[in-house]
Amino acid sequence: MRHKKNKDPGSKGVNLSIIVVPMLDMSFQLLSFFIMVYSPNAAEEFIGGELGRTKAAAPKDAAVAGPLDKSMPKDPTKIPIKDIDPKLEQSFTVVLTTVDPRSKGGAIKPSATREGEKPNFIQIKSPANALDKEASRDADNLLDMATFVKEDLAFKTLEATLRKYHREITMTKEKGEAKTEKKDEVGAIKTAIRIEADRGIQFNYVIQVFAACKRAGFDDVTFTTPLD
């Protein structure tokens, strides 16, 4: 690198100002490189949880602990009451389906594409009516996606409904006292939400429902086997 000699006879040393130019060139090249490879993907996050260790020899349909909940029967009304997991009675179930639950039945509707499809209905089955078919047809718990101008509004409505339920479950008012949190023996609230969806529903909608449940305050949100 060449250095320009200082022309001032009164001072000693080398004037370094000239080496700034190649340095600036290099800096711009580096800057261009970083701008080109920059990808603002920092917003990618992960949802999930621990899995219970299962033995290889265990039957595949056995109930397992953890977020993948296979213990949810396809039709709880067909299981004798004594065999029903007590947890089920405390759990909400959010169902995403293309077929109106009021007239549900029959074979799977084949999909024209390999992509998933939009749900036409979102139904909330509350713990009290999860085993009661008539009660589960409550119109308040059934969101018809066609009635919403934007999909976001449907998820906001779902969130508001779930938030209301969460408040009812977790808060109690006794003898005019201020509302306090209900807790079990270990200080936790066990009420869970299970998400059921038709096989062909787009994964995105399942995630939107998951997020709505979480935003409503439920910590224990699990996915269940796709509906047949």
Binding site: S27, F28, E45, L51, G200, I207
Partner: protein, 174 residues
């Protein structure tokens, strides 16, 4: 930018410009994520949502994930050389579905187990004691993928004896 007139002409003071450029370089260097291809496959359009996720705690350290990318047609990308497609159930008693699913399950399980062995070896090299690390699967599924296909992967993960599973989402709240 300041400039001074000398005997030779106009001298532009480049120092503040250089400072700024170097600061920009530092910003990009710090925020750059050097990730593997399988972790940043741009063919996958992840679901976007607003979600308050808890901050990573100490317990979540020493986690080794195996990445699985699932495109909108249910093809698993980057799982060996072969393109695997997660089958779709056409009707309730679909014999072809069960058959294809069993084959797929075997392939995915063997791939996962192979990966898990590698990770277990890595953990031992890092001098971690048994039980101090966790091996799981991160599923990067396209937002348009059918739920049953994502579920199938989760189901296989469950059976392949992994410690955890995670679903990738784009958090708009962040």
């Amino acid at each position: 930018m300041s400039a001074s007139v000398s005997e030779d002409g106009v001298d532009v003071n480049l120092t503040p410009l250089l400072d700024l450029v170097l600061q920009l370089i530092m910003f990009f260097m710090i925020t750059l994520r050097l990730v593997q291809y399988e972790q940043s496959n741009e063919e996958i359009a992840l679901p976007e949502t607003q979600l308050s996720l808890p901050a990573e705690d100490e317990k979540k350290k020493n986690r080794f994930p195996v990445w699985v990318n699932l495109d909108y047609e249910g093809n698993i990308i980057g799982l060996g050389k072969e393109v695997l497609t997660v089958p779709i159930k056409r009707h309730i008693e679909d014999a072809d579905y069960e058959k294809t699913r069993a084959v797929l399950r075997d392939k995915i399980e063997s791939y996962f187990k192979e990966k898990k062995t590698d990770i277990d070896r890595q953990a031992r090299v890092m001098k971690l004691n048994e039980g101090e690390w966790k091996v799981g699967v991160v599923i990067r599924a396209d937002r348009r993928t059918r739920y049953e296909q994502v579920w199938t992967i989760m189901d296989v993960v469950q059976e392949a004896n992994f410690d955890f599973w995670q679903l990738s989402v784009l958090n708009l709240e962040g």
